[in-house]
């Protein structure tokens, strides 16, 4: 039987959630037995050319490219999981939602106390994706099937959840795996 494929991406995240996935240590070998990694920063596959069973999303949407990628994931994965607080509710990047976009850019590139920018220009290369007016959690952009909270969710939580999803079992996480204080 063909192995189920999974895809992962980091949108407006810090890669911490991906690091947590790698934190399953030696079990990564078991995982490689179980699944085939498709589009993911782990193997650097850039584009979807096959349908996937599960897509893991780290980070929310802060720019137009994030939206594009997230929509691709929705179209190419049966199950989408928001992994970590940034994907679920915007997280740290969403702190900018309290400040108008123009002021954010000015603070970041012109006025901030640690800024060194002799050109006094805000980067504006056509290659740079346009920012959204605020950072969106993933489920406000596409439908999300599961949310795994945590910053990042512990490796064991990811391992258990992924295992259950791939086997088609209900996700039943013990208290220890979803307790955060």
């Amino acid at each position: 039987m063909e192995k189920p494929r999974i895809a992962t991406t980091s949108l407006a995240g810090c890669f911490g959630c991906h690091m947590s996935l790698l934190d399953i240590d030696a079990r990564i070998l078991d995982l490689a037995e179980l699944v085939e990694f498709h589009k993911s920063p782990i193997n650097d596959i850039k584009a979807f050319d096959q349908h996937c069973a599960v897509g893991l999303i780290e980070g929310g949407c802060c720019n137009e490219e994030n939206v594009k990628v997230l929509r691709e994931f929705r179209r190419n994965c049966d199950i989408l999981v928001s992994v970590g607080d940034c994907a679920i509710m915007g997280g740290i990047p969403a702190m900018r939602n309290l400040v108008p976009l123009e002021e954010c850019l000015q603070e970041a590139y012109l006025n901030g106390p640690t800024v060194f920018n002799p050109s006094k220009r805000i980067p504006n290369d056509p290659e740079i994706p346009l920012l959204l007016e605020k950072v969106y959690p993933c489920h406000e952009v596409v439908e999300i099937d599961y949310h795994l909270p945590g910053c990042p969710p512990p490796a064991d939580t990811l391992w258990e959840a992924l295992g259950a999803l791939l086997k088609g079992n209900p996700i039943e996480l013990s208290y220890e795996l979803i307790k955060y204080d």
Binding site: V67, E133, V141
Partner: protein
């Protein structure tokens, strides 16, 4: 600190004997005299009542009729509930705004007039209606609104706005209101005859236990909404060895579309006080409190006069009806504008002079209620029933109504019907018959029991009004064929968002999310998944909320999902599955595109 404020606060606090539990009276009085309760005033009140400023502040910030910000000498509170909007409240509001030159929520620059909106003020049968300070103005139109403003600018005295007095006691000197009773049908129990006092005499000839047994035999259930058996409640309150007990009459009547207690308070106060006195005898209470909603302040002087008369007649006070040792008196506690204070434990909090937060149960009020004393809270109408049960006997009462639901019920009918008003009818009456009486046969939907009740359609018109089928505290709102069901649901949710006390998360946050979810559907951007989400969210809020408000606030959603599913399905989005259609990339990047001076590279999905 200003000397006069200090003196005033001192005087007001002295009038309640520096009793901290009378905080609502104190802040209401300060608000009345100054148009606000300033930080300075809070400081002074706290000092006089030997409490902390934050206690005063938490009260002032909680109630709609109190404010820290100074309001105008005249405050116009226009009802913006769904029934009033159906009758043109939006046009009335626009006229008020234009004529005053301010927006809703603002005060005229000369500090004279404040304009605001409020939930149902108990005048749905004469909507659009507004309170101008304590004065009720009804049947408003935009012309009338302009006239009112013009007049207020001349004399600034709301009392002079009263032109055509209403019927019955509304026309009496102590009420002097334009309010109409709109009594459409007088039933056997309450509205057909005046109080005789016979019920009280009969009761006093029995032992308290016998009185309670009679109320139980009559199978009387609470008329305020929850329908708890009254006799049982009294038995629980009487049990135990407390030296002092309390009976409270719930005259908060906050459920939108309910106005039947208004009519009882105006026309049958003696019957209500009689029932309350019987209750006091039955449970062994010497203190009675009528919790009167702030919107009905125009009835307070009249009710006080009835109490005075009863005292002089010897049916209230010491040794009632010559019965040695039966001492009982009643005071009126004014509310300050909060729907949640109709919930009995929140009501007791409010009587105790704190924020109107519901309390944890157990202990129930019957065990530990007002100031820790065993307390029975009963609705206005329930108490009237008690007086008649004692007068005519329980058999007479059970012969009225249906097998399971004894007696009559006062129903307040409003909305798209020819004859809105109060109907006293036997319980068990089919909805269809009621609609015929009210002239609402073409109704598309009926909201039974107010926003916290349920919405039913024509396939339910043969169901009956009673405790086991369509239960209601009295509110019946009629929606004609042209009304948009989802907009009604949205308006009800707005009400609950406004009125949630904020104590528990499922209700405080859940109602906001419910409203958002309904708004998304109304905008035509919702999918089948959103419907499922709405359903599950509504169930969660219902199951996990702390008190009756949050446990019923999802009912408009749940009952329309069940009974009017097609109105939801008609507005579902047709676009690609899996996307959230209320997220528009072009709108989300428009600011950045303007700042960068270029267009998006990814606009095409």
């Amino acid at each position: 600190m200003s000397e006069t404020l200090k003196e005033t606060v001192g005087e007001v606090c002295r009038s309640v004997e520096f009793d901290r539990s009378r905080m609502i009276d104190v802040v209401r009085e300060v608000q009345k005299r100054y148009g606000n309760v300033s930080g300075e005033a809070m400081e002074l009140i706290a000092r006089e009542l030997k409490t902390h400023r934050v206690e005063v502040e938490s009260v002032v910030s909680f109630y709609a009729f109190l404010s820290e910000m100074r309001q105008g000498k005249v405050v116009i509170r226009l009802c913006n509930d769904v029934i009033d909007r159906m009758h043109g409240a939006d046009r009335v509001l626009a006229a008020f705004e234009e004529e005053l030159g301010i927006r809703v929520g603002e005060t005229t620059p000369d500090g004279e007039i404040t304009l605001t909106t409020t939930a149902c003020i108990g005048m749905s049968d004469q909507a659009p209606a507004a309170l101008i300070n304590d004065v009720v103005v009804n049947h408003l139109s935009s012309d009338l609104a302009r006239e009112i403003v013009w007049e207020l600018k001349q004399h600034g005295n709301p009392a002079l706005l009263v032109k055509n007095l209403g019927d019955g006691n509304n026309a009496s000197e102590l009420v002097s209101a334009m309010v109409k009773n709109n009594i459409r049908h007088r039933g056997a129990v309450i509205l057909s005859r005046a109080a005789t006092g016979q019920g009280l005499e009969t009761a006093l000839a029995m032992t308290p236990a016998e009185v309670i047994r009679n109320v139980k035999t009559a199978r009387l259930r609470g008329r305020g909404g929850a329908g708890f058996p009254t006799g049982m409640k009294w038995e629980f309150t009487r049990a135990g060895s407390a030296a002092e007990r309390v009976i409270v009459c719930n005259a908060d009547e906050g459920e939108p579309g309910t106005f039947k207690d208004r009519v009882i308070l105006t026309e049958c106060p003696d019957l209500m006080f009689e029932g309350m006195t019987i209750g006091a005898y039955a449970i062994g209470a010497s203190l009675g409190i009528v919790y009167l909603r702030a919107e009905y302040a125009y009835l307070k002087r009249f009710l006080e006069s009835v109490l005075d008369r009863r005292r002089s007649e010897g049916v209230l006070g010491r040794g009632i009806c010559g019965l040695e040792g039966f001492d009982f008196d009643i005071r009126i506690q004014m509310g300050a504008g909060a729907y949640i204070c109709g919930e009995e434990t929140a009501l007791l909090s409010s009587c105790e002079g704190v924020r109107g937060d519901p309390k944890n149960r157990p202990p129930f009020p019957a065990q530990k209620g007002y100031l820790g004393l065993p307390t029975s809270v009963n609705n206005v109408e329930t108490l009237c029933c008690v007086a008649r049960i004692m007068e005519h006997g329980p058999g007479w009462f059970t012969a009225l109504g249906s097998e399971q639901s004894a007696g009559t019920k006062l129903l307040s009918i409003s909305g798209d019907c020819k004859r809105s008003g109060v109907y006293e009818l036997p319980l068990g009456i089919p909805l269809r018959e009621l609609l015929k009486l009210a002239g609402a046969e073409d109704a598309q939907a009926i909201q039974v029991g107010g926003p916290s009740g349920q919405m039913v359609g024509p396939d339910a018109f043969d169901r009956t009004i009673c405790y086991d089928d369509l239960s209601t505290g009295g509110s019946i709102m009629v929606f004609g064929p042209k009304r948009k069901i989802l907009e009604v649901v949205d308006a009800f949710l707005e009400f609950f968002v406004e009125e949630s006390c904020g104590y528990c998360t499922p209700c405080r946050v859940g109602n906001v999310l419910l409203k958002k979810a309904v708004a998304k559907l109304i905008s035509g951007k919702g999918s089948q998944k959103d419907l499922a989400y709405l359903q599950s969210l509504a169930e969660t809020v219902k199951k996990t909320s702390r008190c009756g408000l949050g446990q019923t606030s999802p009912n408009p959603v749940l009952s329309t999902l069940e009974n009017f599913r097609s109105v939801y399905e008609e507005v579902l989005v047709a676009g690609e599955a899996g996307l959230q259609h209320d997220f528009e990339l072009s709108r989300a990047v428009s600011q950045a595109a303007r700042i960068a001076g270029r267009t998006s590279a990814h606009l095409h999905p």
